[in-house]
Amino acid sequence: MKKPAPIRPAAMAAALCILALQMLPSAHADSGRAMPRNVPSAYTQECAACHTAYPPGLLPAASWNRVMAGLDKHYGTDASLDATTVRQLNQWLQAHAGTYKRVNEEPPEDRITHSAWFEHKHRKIEPATWKLASVKSAANCAACHTGADRGEFDEHDLRMPAGLNARSRRAWND
C-alpha cells in the first residue's frame, strides 16, 4: 500500500494564494463584471422584463447615465419609467459600474455588444449565428450563456444555440 504524499505547507500556501487572487476581482463589487449581491427588485422587474439583467460592471458609469437618461428611446423601444425608479436604479448602476480595464471605455452607442472586450471575446462567432431564430441578436446572452440571468458568463456554462450549422458546431469547443 502506498502512503499518501504529505501535503507540503509551501505548496498549500501557494495554492491558497492563487485561489485568493483569482477571487479578488469579483470581491470588488464596484469594478468586477459579476452581478453584485444587492440587485434592486426594480432592476429585475423592469430591465430584465425585456432582456438579460446585465451586470452593471459591463458598462462604465457615464454610459449607464446616458442609458438611464434616455429610457423613452431605449435602443429603439420605449422603456420609460417613473422618475423615482429611474433615480434609484441609476444610483445602483453608478455604484457598481465597470471600472476594470477595457470596461472603462465608453462603447459606441453605449452598447455592451459594441465594447472592445465583447467583440474580442466573440470574435470567432460567425455573423450568421447572431441571426439565428434562437439567438436573434447579441443582446440575447441567454441563447448561449446558461447563467446569463444570474450574471454568470463563464465559458464552461455555454450551450450551443439551436440551428447552428455543422461547421460552427464543430468549432464550438475551440
Binding site: 425585456c50 432582456h51 420605449d78 422603456a79 420609460s80 440575447n140 441567454a142
Partner: protein
C-alpha cells in the same frame, strides 16, 4: 406601552402585507375592459381589437411581433429574444392584474407600435379581444 408594541407591530405587518397584495393584484382583465370602455363611452370591440393587435401601423412591429398570434402562448421579445408570459388572461392568471403595470406597458408598447399612446377605445378593443381568447 411595551404591551401594545407587539400588537402595533402585528397591525403594521398586516397592513403592509395587505397593501403589497393590493398593489400586486388591484385589478382584473374584466375590470380593465370595463374601465377603458367606460372612459371611451363605448364597449370594446373584439374584431377591432384583433386588427389593432395584429397590424403593424406603419412601424417595424405589431403587438403580435412580441406577444404572438394569437397571444395565447409564450411570447418572445422581437429584438432580444427574451421570453414573455402569455398575454391572454385565460392563459395567464397574472395578466392585467396590476394597474400600474397595465398603464406602463400600454404606454410603452403603444409608443413602439403606433408611435403614440393608445386611446381609451383602442385599449378597450384590445382587452375585448384578449378576454375573448379562450382555451
Amino acid at each position: 406601552m411595551t404591551r401594545t408594541r407587539p400588537l402595533a407591530l402585528a397591525a403594521l405587518c398586516a397592513w403592509a402585507s395587505a397593501s403589497t397584495y393590493s398593489q400586486a393584484a388591484d385589478t382584473t382583465a374584466a375590470q380593465q375592459l370595463a374601465h377603458w370602455s367606460a372612459q371611451a363611452g363605448s364597449p370594446g370591440n373584439v374584431d377591432k381589437g384583433k386588427l389593432l393587435f395584429t397590424t403593424r401601423h406603419g412601424s417595424e412591429w405589431s403587438c403580435a411581433s412580441c406577444h404572438g398570434t394569437p397571444p395565447t402562448g409564450q411570447g418572445k421579445h422581437a429584438s432580444t429574444g427574451k421570453l414573455i408570459a402569455p398575454l391572454a388572461p385565460a392563459f395567464n392568471p397574472k395578466a392585467f392584474t396590476d394597474t400600474a403595470k397595465v398603464d406602463k406597458w400600454f404606454r410603452r408598447n403603444c409608443n413602439d407600435v403606433l408611435s403614440r399612446e393608445c386611446t381609451a377605445i383602442e385599449k378597450a378593443d384590445v382587452l375585448a379581444y384578449l378576454n375573448a381568447l379562450k382555451p
